[in-house]
């Protein structure tokens, strides 16, 4: 199937955020795709608060099934979470479990005033009561497909679709 252009989606996502909240908030990207997006948003929207990054490996609910990811990245929240307005950024929103883990982790840094969620693609299939406030596009995808964000050496973002069985 023809996938939308990630760069176009990014622009529209950035615009939605800007028109809604301006730039008075903190951005936190979720590894790996969410961090790429958050870096671009941070620049594009000229956010003053330093960028936060989260690796939710330590908060996942499937640790007993799959163990620890081979490359865990350090989470870094270089601003005061207590009382902050935070936009959490991830590339693809699906079951909602990653976001649950990310929210839990954020609360271990402090009590934010608010958290909203921005995602490039919302592909439905939620297993938890979680919704994104800023969405690039909504896509219906079969359950056996895996949608991932890629970044080329020049920084250009694109979407790619895999068979789940192939990815495993």
């Amino acid at each position: 199937m023809q996938l939308p252009d990630a760069e176009v989606l990014f622009k529209s996502l950035a615009k939605k955020i800007q028109s809604d909240v301006g730039k008075d908030f903190a951005l936190v990207g979720i590894y790996t795709g969410g961090v790429w997006l958050a870096e671009r948003l941070h620049q594009e929207l000229a956010i003053t608060q330093p960028l936060g990054t989260l690796d939710v490996s330590f908060y996942r609910d499937d640790f007993d099934k799959i163990g620890l990811h081979s490359q865990v990245k350090p989470s870094e929240i270089p601003f005061e979470v207590e009382g902050a307005h935070i936009i959490l950024v991830d590339d693809v929103l699906y079951t909602g479990r990653t976001i649950r883990a990310a929210v839990n982790e954020l609360f271990d840094y402090g009590r934010p005033a608010s958290i909203s969620l921005a995602t490039l693609v919302d592909r439905g299939g939620r297993e938890l009561p979680i919704a994104a406030q800023y969405i690039g596009i909504e896509l219906e995808l079969p359950a056996d497909k895996m949608l991932v964000l890629k970044r080329e050496d020049n920084g250009k973002l694109s979407l790619d679709l895999y068979d789940k069985s192939f990815a495993e």
Binding site: D55, S57, F58, Y59, F63, D64, K65, I66, G67, L68, S70, Q71, V72, K73, P74, S75, E76, N104, E105, F107, D108, Y109, G110
Partner: protein, 319 residues
Amino acid sequence: MINRNPQLDENGVLQHLLTTEGLPASILLHILDTAESFVGVTERDVKKIPLLRGKSIFNLFFEPSTRTRTTFEIAAKRLSADVINLNIAVSAQTKGEALLDTVNNLSAMNADMFIVRHAQSGAAHLIAKHVRPDIHVINAGDGSHAHPTQALLDMFTIRRYKEDFHNLRVAIIGDILHSRVARSQIHALTTLGVPEVRVIAPKTLLPKMVERLGVHVYHDMAKGLKDIDVLMMLRLQNERMKGANLPSPEEYFKYYGLTPEKLLLARRDAIVMHPGPMNRGVEIDSAVADGKQSVILPQVTFGIAVRMAVMSILAGNQV
């Protein structure tokens, strides 16, 4: 008969951490990399993560060591595991309560992990060999054999300060003969690609054929410390200070104790490490232990993160 490395399963996945010997560099580096993430966690206000929630970790200390036990306990608690401390008195052992009976009883209490400290070399191997297959064993020091988490936290510390292992000269100084720490350090250093590892000690404190482990042997601090980037001091046990191994702590300090003067023989940016607890004035001078080249306190901090990493990786590696 060729025996498979008892730490790895048939797919080469780490199931127990018993020694640094025979582990591929990829596994050692994975532990160090994971530990980097945990350093961040230990610096937060909330120092706890839910990774091992509901897991039961038993500290089985057949040899008392409050210090080591505490670091494992902190690490386990920061991972939200339940920690049960058992100091199994040596007297119970000699009375005939077999080591494996103790272990089997604890397994029946649905343990997920055993942290084992024992005065006999090979105790952790024995337990790992006979324990239920879903239980992971971490060796917290067995006799003079191995102390892998200490060696790993030392590697972590070296990487933090020296970045690359491939251009270092490292000296391990002191009682190599009786030291499980030294053995684990040597294997970790050589596996991670350190080109020159030296041991410096009087001949009474060196095991036979130690050079077969891939180290260069020195008996003289002046020669041994030349061009050294990392000094790893060892603790000299009280009972070895006098008698057939050494004449006196004073003479040992004079010839092998690390003083500011001797430290000048190493590279100017050399770091000084010690696994603790230190005998100040025996193997190390206070001016060095508290000096600006000392990384002894950071070692302790990193020790928690490294042990968190080892526990998380093992707990996640299902059989």
